[in-house]
Amino acid sequence: MSENNAPALIGSSGDSLREAFGKELTRIAPEYPKLVVLDADVAGGTGVHHFRKAHPDKFIQCGIAEQNMVAAAAGLAATGMIPVVTGFACFLERAYEQARLSVGYARRNVKIVASHPGLDVGPDGGSAQALEDLAAFRAIPGMVVISPADPIEQALATRAILEYDGPVYMRTGRSGSVRLFNDDHVFEIGKGQIIRHGLDVTLVACGVEVARSLKAAELLAEEGIEARVVNMPTIKPIDEALLKRCVLETGCLVTAEDHNIYGGLGSAVAEAVTKNRPCPIEMIGLKDSFGTSGEPDELAEHFQITAPYIAEAARRAMARKEHLQ
């Protein structure tokens, strides 16, 4: 029975962000002879099992030891390699101080790629749901922080971080994801894009919240509200110019992220906005609470980060804008 009774791995659907990452990394690897991938016994979950299979000699198994893995990556980078450190977002936080000192402070060309971010890990429960990773890594000086929205963008970002010389933290995701972009999509570190036009309010989102923001914009459109949607895959450095323009043109913002409302995309946007032209912002994210077990979509509903809540936040933001005028 053992042969044809192979277990079905959860969430290994072809359209997840981790699959897009793992496959693209594997595909472009020959172009980057110094590329090396590090894993801490979770390769089956991060998408890099594809890489291991294709490029076993460029794959380093570190065991369940994230601290050593991240600092070792800094050492590999010091010898000229381009290490991509992979793991689940919550467990990579185990190596926070290594990311700070050996990677960030020494400014090593290390890419930290985290799957299972936010509520994405679902049934595994609150312990495994990393809702503070964007905040923590954003605070490390010089660290670029990225959270793509769909498989196409994830693949583009995968190449972009290899092209970029410096420390990067990038989220992927395990759940099946909505495809948003076409093959002509462009990803550039530090640049956001308006993916739906509108002048009443801007919804700024990253990761899984981009699709939900688009849905929210549709809900709002039914009421005659024209919501602009901005895809903001780079949380740091944040695209200040684009935000400035959105504030000028729409007068209020909603931020949406699969993350604590403290410290992540919402904060980055609030910092940029108050630094330039201030405006009302409503933030969608987990309200300083940990997660719990459940399917990602159920959880999104439970923690109120789905389209209806984004739409409601947009209405609040617009009301506040009126009030100011």
Binding site: M1, D41, G45, I64, D124, G126, S127, A128, S293, G294
Partner: protein, 306 residues
């Protein structure tokens, strides 16, 4: 579902006392609890459509023995400061903990099948919230062990003679914080602390020795100042007597290296890392597993009908 009375529903006893049942009796009772535990965890993982069956099965006999004969904790005493503590450091094996807890009446047998669901306290990894008999939240390997050490220190400072038991995975040995805790516990001579290693030779992706060899494991623990016992983790009499020897060890903490089989009890899972997790069991797979665990057709229906 086999309805068996829990072994202990009696009054609270002192930290060192053991249930006053004759040895063969208790061994039979523990074996029965272990059988229930395996069936229950297969059912809950099947119903959850995800979970880690391999490492849950490998520690069923250990947990059954711990709860059946060693821990002085009962549903009525979950808040008693004098109780022994158990920390499941390899938190992904929580279906085993939920099952043995259900067996002993800490929670409802049926409700605890409601694993990994929104609104259920039986999360995919143990969480203190809403489950008073879960001693700490785990899921990130290594941390439970450190927390257990802190508990052992806290009990000693408060002159409480209770003991602290914790179960770790062998892959978990690769986490550095485990060795911090090992070193610190030995330094502080925490003889009220007992770490059990579920030595099933496998971790998430493959064999330990393929991922990052941990052998010679006993030498490591001895070099870190622990009293070490190496046993068969499926031999209930041996587990029982080793707990006793560990409990009477003075001046240092005890480490029980329990040699086990990942997936133990479900032949098609045994010895394959593929069943580590997060796997989804088909109805047929769950059925085959429950058959192997000796369930009747009726019991299988009761377990698997959602």
């Amino acid at each position: 579902m086999p309805i068996c009375a829990p072994v202990k529903e009696t009054a609270f006893e002192t930290a060192t006392a053991h249930p006053v049942v004759s040895a063969p009796d208790i061994e039979v009772q523990i074996a029965e609890a272990a059988r229930f535990t395996r069936r229950h965890l297969i059912a809950s993982i099947y119903r959850a459509t995800s979970g880690h069956p391999g490492g849950a099965l490998s520690c069923a006999d250990i947990l059954a023995t711990l709860f059946g004969a060693e821990l002085n904790v009962w549903p009525s005493s979950v808040n008693d400061p004098q109780r022994d503590r158990f920390v499941l450091s390899k938190g992904h094996a929580c279906p085993t903990l939920y099952a043995i807890a259900a067996w002993h009446g800490f929670c409802d047998k049926k409700e605890s099948l409601n694993l990994r669901k929104l609104g259920s306290p039986f999360q995919g990894h143990p969480h203190v919230k809403d489950l008073p008999w879960v001693e700490t939240s785990t899921g990130s390997l290594g941390q439970g062990f450190s927390v257990a050490m802190g508990m052992a220190m806290g009990l000693r400072m408060q002159k409480i003679r209770a003991r602290v038991y914790t179960l770790l995975g062998d892959g978990e040995m690769q986490e550095g914080s485990v060795w911090e805790t090992a070193m610190c516990s030995a330094h502080h001579k925490l003889d009220n602390l007992c770490a059990i290693i579920d030595y099933n030779k496998m971790q998430s992706d493959a064999l330990n020795e393929e991922i990052c060899g941990i052998a010679p494991l006993a030498d490591k623990w001895r070099a870190f100042g622990w009293e070490v016992f190496e046993i068969d983790g499926h031999d209930i009499p041996q587990i029982l007597s080793t707990f006793h020897r560990a409990a009477t060890t003075r001046g240092k903490p005890s480490c029980i290296i329990a040699n086990t089989i990942k997936g133990k009890g479900v032949p098609y899972m045994e010895g394959s890392p593929a069943w580590h997790g997060s796997v989804k069991l088909s109805h047929e797979q769950a059925e085959t597993a429950l058959q192997a665990l000796g369930c009747t057709a009726e019991e299988i229906k009761e377990f698997l009908d959602v």
